[in-house]
Each structure stands twice: as structure tokens, then as C-alpha cells.
């Protein structure tokens, strides 16, 4: 029964002047699809996004400043916490930078072990991307599958270094522990297990009409814009540039392995997803090759406990799952770095979000943001 109330607005009639105005929506900081604590300030015109301002800094822990108060060995555990989804790669970048600074030769076996761990971690990180991306778009099943596979990688890590998230496995001049006896066979088993699983994800998602509707042609990032915003990693390769530090500026033992760099064509959300799916297969290939050719020998160069690198500075970068991760170290010859600057891929990739999201609907920003695969602690550091 309709009740006539005085608060009820008059019904709209055709001759009334309908003025529209922009309004601001806060997405986050506590929003499940911002993958952490990121606040997106969206200026909306109806349902269309006119402007996005990412408000970051909620997770700032001043890790760069902490580095000035820790020795080179001690800072290793803080690199774990910069990017907790791919700690091995963060460890690796720090090791490469310090070794470059001090000119330390790393044993061959240690380099191979580092590559194996970094690539396994890349697969794990992309699985987390796949899981969260799928569940953001409403596909719950791949989320469970991806975490099931990640569990096996994490078990391999725990078997080797004892931790499941913050590995602290690599050391300046090598790695902390040699792999246990059954690691090689278990990892080989895992690699052969992974290929059909990736096919499975593709069967569920890649050509699914609902998934295509949510991703194909959404959030275009053309190549010049991507380069101008110094986007790196899968978003850059999704836009069509074949740029990968592992190939173009090989570090560790990457020049010895044969792998392809997948690229996309249009630079849309679907391309970025596809690049990561393909990278998982390539990473598994690298792991298999590295296990085949794993040399015998020492796992750690002699580095004193009171490690004092010479005065000077060094810059080293690696290809982390999210893009280029780089450390710039200035040393004054003491046991602690004078200054450390960390370049993380998430921070730079996030800067391209306003360009990518402009003009799309509010539902699409979840897909676009998810396809960048941002890790908020890495953005804020």
C-alpha cells in the first residue's frame, strides 16, 4: 500500500532541468580487491571513472631508513618484507647489488640454486595473482586451484630454508643452506605436475565468455604510455615490448637457460593475464633446465661476519615477478650502508593506473587494478 508522505520527492517530469554533477567515491583502504591497504579516490561521472588518485602510504615502514641502521647481512630479512609474495626475488636483488658493490664471486651451484628458487617463487607469485584476479572477477574455482599448487611450492621452500613466507634464504655470496636430498626429485615432480594444471586454469578462464567480457579490451595501456610511466614486468610485456632483465641484462646464471619472453598485443587486461600464464610455463622450463645442470660445489663464498664493502656505490636490478626490482647502495666503507634506495615495480606500475582506468566503468577498475598485480608493502616500503 502506498503511503503519501511529505518527504517523498516529486516525481521527475520531462521538462525539469536534470543537472548532473561529479561525485567522489572512496575505494578502500579496506577493500578486498585493493589487495592490501590502498585507497583509490575515484571521481565519477555516473558510472564512468573520470579520475583516479591512488592514495598510498598506509604500509610505509621506512625500510630504506632501516637499512642505514642494519649491517648488510641483517638487512636481508627486511628485503623479505618489501615484497612478501616473492621474497626470494627481493633477497636475490639485494644479494646481486651487494655483490656488485663488493665484487664478490658467487659459486656456480649457489647461482643455480638462486635461479631455481627465484623462478619457483615467480610461479608462486603468479599463482597468487591468478587466484586473486580470478576471485576479483567472480571466478572462485581457480582461486582454490592456484593456492593448492602454491602450497606445494611453499612446501619446497620450507623444506629448504624453513619458512613459508619470509624465506631469508639467500646470503651475500651465496645461499644459506644447500637443498635437502629429495628436493631435486620433488621439484622435478612439481614441474611436470604444473604444466597440466596451467592448462586447466586456461580451460577455465582464458576463453570463458564471462572472463573475456570482463577483460578483453579493458584498461588499455599503449606502449609509449607504458614506457613513459616506466612500467615494467608483465604489464609492459603485455603492451607488446619484449623487455626482460633476465634476457637483456642477464644476472646470476640466466644466460645459460633457454626460455621465451611472452608478450601481448593490445596491452589490455587480458594480455597481462595471458603473459603471466605463459611466464609460469617458461619459469617451470627454467627450473627444469637448472635442475638438470645443477653443478656440484660450494654454496657460499667466504664473506666475513663483519662485512665491510669498499667505499662506493652500486646499482643492480633484477626481474621480479612484478617487474624490475632494483637496489642502489651507497657505501661509506663501514658495516652498514650509507644509503639504500629501492626501486620497486609495484610503485611505478601503480602510477599508470590513472591513465589506464580513465573512461572505464567502476566495475572495470577491479579488473584493471588486479591485472597490475600490485603488492602494497612493495609500493610503500
Amino acid at each position: 500500500m502506498m503511503v503519501d508522505s511529505p518527504d517523498r520527492p516529486e516525481p521527475l517530469t520531462g521538462d525539469r532541468n536534470l543537472e548532473t554533477e561529479e561525485f567522489v567515491v572512496n575505494m578502500g583502504p579496506q577493500h578486498p580487491s585493493t589487495h592490501g591497504v590502498c585507497r583509490l579516490i575515484l571521481t565519477m561521472d555516473g558510472e564512468v571513472i573520470k579520475k583516479v588518485v591512488p592514495d598510498i602510504g598506509f604500509l610505509h615502514r621506512s625500510i630504506e631508513k632501516i637499512a642505514e641502521n642494519r649491517t648488510y647481512h641483517q638487512f636481508m630479512i627486511y628485503t623479505d618484507r618489501i615484497d612478501y609474495v616473492s621474497s626470494m626475488n627481493a633477497n636475490h636483488a639485494w644479494c646481486v647489488a651487494v655483490e656488485k658493490l663488493a665484487g664478490i664471486e658467487v659459486p656456480e651451484r649457489a647461482e643455480y640454486l638462486r635461479v631455481i628458487m627465484a623462478e619457483l617463487n615467480r610461479i608462486a607469485s603468479h599463482l597468487v595473482f591468478l587466484a586473486s584476479f580470478a576471485i576479483d572477477l567472480g571466478a572462485v574455482t581457480p582461486f582454490l586451484y592456484a593456492f593448492r599448487e602454491r602450497e606445494r611450492i611453499v612446501d619446497l621452500f620450507e623444506m629448504t630454508c624453513g619458512q613459508r613466507l619470509t624465506y631469508n634464504y639467500m646470503r651475500i655470496g651465496g645461499v644459506s643452506k644447500d637443498v635437502p636430498k629429495d628436493f631435486v626429485s620433488e621439484t622435478k615432480k612439481f614441474c611436470s605436475y604444473l604444466y597440466p594444471r596451467v592448462d586447466e586454469y586456461e580451460a577455465i578462464l582464458t576463453e570463458n565468455p564471462i572472463f573475456l567480457g570482463r577483460t578483453k579490451g579493458i584498461g588499455l595501456l599503449d606502449l609509449p604510455t607504458a614506457i613513459n610511466y616506466s612500467v615494467s614486468g608483465p604489464p609492459l610485456r603485455g603492451s607488446g615490448l619484449k623487455w626482460d632483465i633476465r634476457k637483456d641484462e642477464p644476472y646470476s646464471a640466466y644466460e645459460k637457460f633457454d626460455f621465451d619472453i611472452p608478450t601481448g598485443e593490445n596491452g589490455d587486461t587480458w594480455d597481462r593475464y595471458k603473459v603471466r600464464i605463459e611466464e609460469m610455463r617458461q619459469s617451470a622450463r627454467i627450473v627444469e633446465q637448472a635442475l638438470e645442470g645443477l653443478p656440484e660445489g660450494g654454496i657460499k663464498a667466504k664473506v666475513p661476519a663483519r662485512f665491510r664493502p669498499p667505499q662506493g656505490e652500486a646499482f643492480a636490478r633484477i626481474e621480479a615477478p612484478r617487474g624490475e626490482m632494483a637496489y642502489f647502495i651507497v657505501s661509506d666503507g663501514s658495516t652498514k650502508p650509507y644509503r639504500v634506495k629501492i626501486r620497486t615495480a609495484s610503485f611505478c606500475n601503480l602510477q599508470a593506473l590513472p591513465v589506464m582506468a580513465r573512461g572505464w566503468k567502476i566495475a572495470d577498475i577491479v579488473a584493471i587494478f588486479g591485472s597490475l598485480d600490485i603488492i602494497l608493502p612493495e609500493v610503500d616500503r
Binding site: 630479512i77 623444506m159 624453513g162 619458512q163 635437502p180 565468455p209 663501514s334 652498514k336
Partner: protein
Amino acid sequence: MRAARQVWSGVYNLVLGLVTVFKHLGHKAITLQYPDERMPMFERSRGVVVLLSDPETGKLNCTACMVCARICPVYAIDLERSEEPDPETKKRYPVKFEIDNTTCAFCGLCEEACNFDAIKLTGKYEFSVYDQKTLLYDRDFLQELGRDVPYEKKKKPLPKAKAAPKADPTSPKPEEPASPKPEESPEESPGEDKPEA
């Protein structure tokens, strides 16, 4: 024609996805019902830190050489050294050994640095408590925790190490037990920053 192909592709891929999902129906669950079932922990698992004792004498292996306190990146270890009165052995032991589990990062650097198999990270992981203060583990509690932890002696046995552990270049220089701190130059000793940190 193009529309028909799109419809066909859409239907095919939806069915393909569903078939993939249904293939998993008969599989056994990979999860465990946690409090009743537990995952076996790996040998190298890094959980709660314990102090190890000599199985024969029942005394702590720790000689309070301060290496662990110095390497700890989060300054979670606090220890004080004392000496046994016996003039023959003059064995050093920690009179106070505290680990703050609220700050411990379980990185394992202390275990790696230790030359006497005195400190170890174990696979124990259930240490939730209601009161934060109880997470500050003292020496006796850490020793009790480590009683049942098996370990292999990685370095030379203790009696020999007692006489000349100082020859090892990685271990710290011999220090006067009364005043261990002034020998260290201030910028090298992270352990000294502890009160401020």
C-alpha cells in the same frame, strides 16, 4: 556467421570450464582439520627459538659469547654473561637470556651464527597467549622448550672448543667478562643499540 561462431565458442568454453571443474569432484581433500590433524613439520622449519642443553650434563651449551645478540636484526635477544666459580674450567654461561618473541622475526641468523649449538629454531609454532608479556621468554623457559629437541653437533665438541674457541676468526675477540661492551667500537655493535630500539 560471426555471431554464430561466437555463440558456439562461448558455449564450448563454458562447458569446457565446467568439465574441468567436475573432473576434480572425486578427489580427496588436500586440507586438514587443524586442531585434530596436524601437518608434520619439516626438519628445517623455523619456529620458536629454543636453547639447547648438553644431553649428558643437562647444562646449557651457551657460552654467552654474544654472537647471536649481535647478529639479531631486530635486537630480540638480551643476554648477560657470568662465569662459573670453578677456577679450572671457568666455563662461561648466560646468567640472563631473554628472547622477545613479539619482535623475533624467525630469520634463523642466530642459529647460523652460533658456534656452540646453543640456539636453534624449532618446528614448534603454537605459542599464542592472552598476555603479551608472557611472550618474553627467559632462560629457564627456553631451556625447557629445548629439552626434547634433537640436534647434531655441527662444530667441534664443547670441551675442546672451551679452550680455544677464540682462534676462530668469525667468533668475537676474547673479552673481559666484567666489561664486554667497551671493547666494541660503537658503530659495529648492533647489540648496543638495543635500549633505544
